[in-house]
């Protein structure tokens, strides 16, 4: 079973660093992560894969690389 979700991360980002972090994690977890928006305060990404692996991706990104600070993470289909 695969799922597709839209994730949003809010915080303070180094866009290149966070983009590379997402690419690396997605590759490791064998899921797709299509970044729709990455700027200094917000990241939107469409993620598709096994639900457990999508959850792992979300958890990893909510920690993020050392030079980024994620203050809030949510999924768009949760009504936000």
């Amino acid at each position: 079973m695969r799922e597709r979700v839209e994730m949003v991360f809010l915080g303070d980002f180094e866009p290149d660093s966070f983009a590379e972090f997402m690419r690396h994690r997605a590759r490791r977890l064998s899921i797709s992560a299509d970044a729709r928006r990455i700027d200094a305060t917000r990241v939107d990404v469409a993620v598709e894969g096994e639900p457990a692996l999508v959850d792992m991706f979300e958890m990893a990104c909510s920690l993020g690389p050392i030079d980024c600070l994620v203050r809030e993470a949510y999924r768009l289909e949760q009504g936000r």
Binding site: R27, R28, L29, S30, E50, A52, L53, M56
Partner: protein, 219 residues
């Protein structure tokens, strides 16, 4: 100073019993040395792909090593095979630990420093050789090699041949960090192991007491 590609001793084989693991370093790269219950030794990057926890803190079960943190278990090829929090998940092939080629010779465990690459044949066994112990010197590899060359002869396999307490020995060097070097002592003939061990410690102390240039120490 860069690390020359090749085989490096990283542990006394008898120190890594079946079902155990230990951490070491090769020029600052953290490695886990572990032995499965079939007796085969492995040398990997000491880092769980999940959260970066040292696998050397983990536990060996059969032919798997599991991370202490969340129990992710890896087979002898470094492939993750089980994630306890998701027992029904088909773990993707991309969740894999970086592995090195490992081999045993002269009672020591060797690792080839090129990650994942094809490795040349490992060091030849030492006839009647018996690994004795490892000593750690707070000096860079180059300084230790310079000190050893005063009384020992460098061999083709990178080891140094000489005598300690009148007993023929081979010393294999491991660049542990940029400023620390491990000496792995191998008895190459019959003799008093306790006396050789004490002589090895005296040798280590003499190296550290010897004057070394600022440039050497900074390497």
């Amino acid at each position: 100073m860069s690390l020359a590609e090749g085989w490096y001793a990283v542990a006394v084989a008898d120190d890594i019993e079946p079902g155990t693991s230990a951490g070491t370093r090769l020029f600052d790269q953290e490695l886990v040395v572990w032995r499965d219950l079939a007796g085969v030794s492995h040398v990997w990057e000491d880092r769980c792909p999940h959260r970066g926890m040292r696998l050397s803190f983990g536990f060996v079960r059969g032919n798997h090593i599991a991370c202490l943190y969340h129990g992710w278990a890896y087979d002898t090829a470094g492939q993750c095979r089980a994630i306890p929090a998701h027992p029904d998940l088909a773990v993707p092939e991309t969740i894999k630990v970086a592995t090195y080629h490992a081999a045993e010779a002269a009672g020591l465990i060797f690792v080839h420093s090129a990650l994942g690459a094809e490795a040349p044949p490992p060091p030849a066994p030492v006839p009647s050789g018996r690994a004795l112990r490892s000593l750690y010197v707070d000096l860079p590899l180059r300084s230790v090699a310079a000190e050893l060359s005063k009384g020992f002869t460098r061999q083709d396999d990178g080891s140094y041949a000489g005598t300690l307490a009148g007993v023929p020995v081979l010393i294999f060097l491991q660049p542990f960090t940029a400023s620390r070097t491990a000496l792995h002592l191998v008895l190459a003939g019959p003799g008093d192991a306790v006396a050789v061990s004490a002589a090895g410690e005296a040798l280590r102390n003499s190296f550290e007491a010897a004057p070394h240039s600022v440039l050497e120490a900074a390497e």
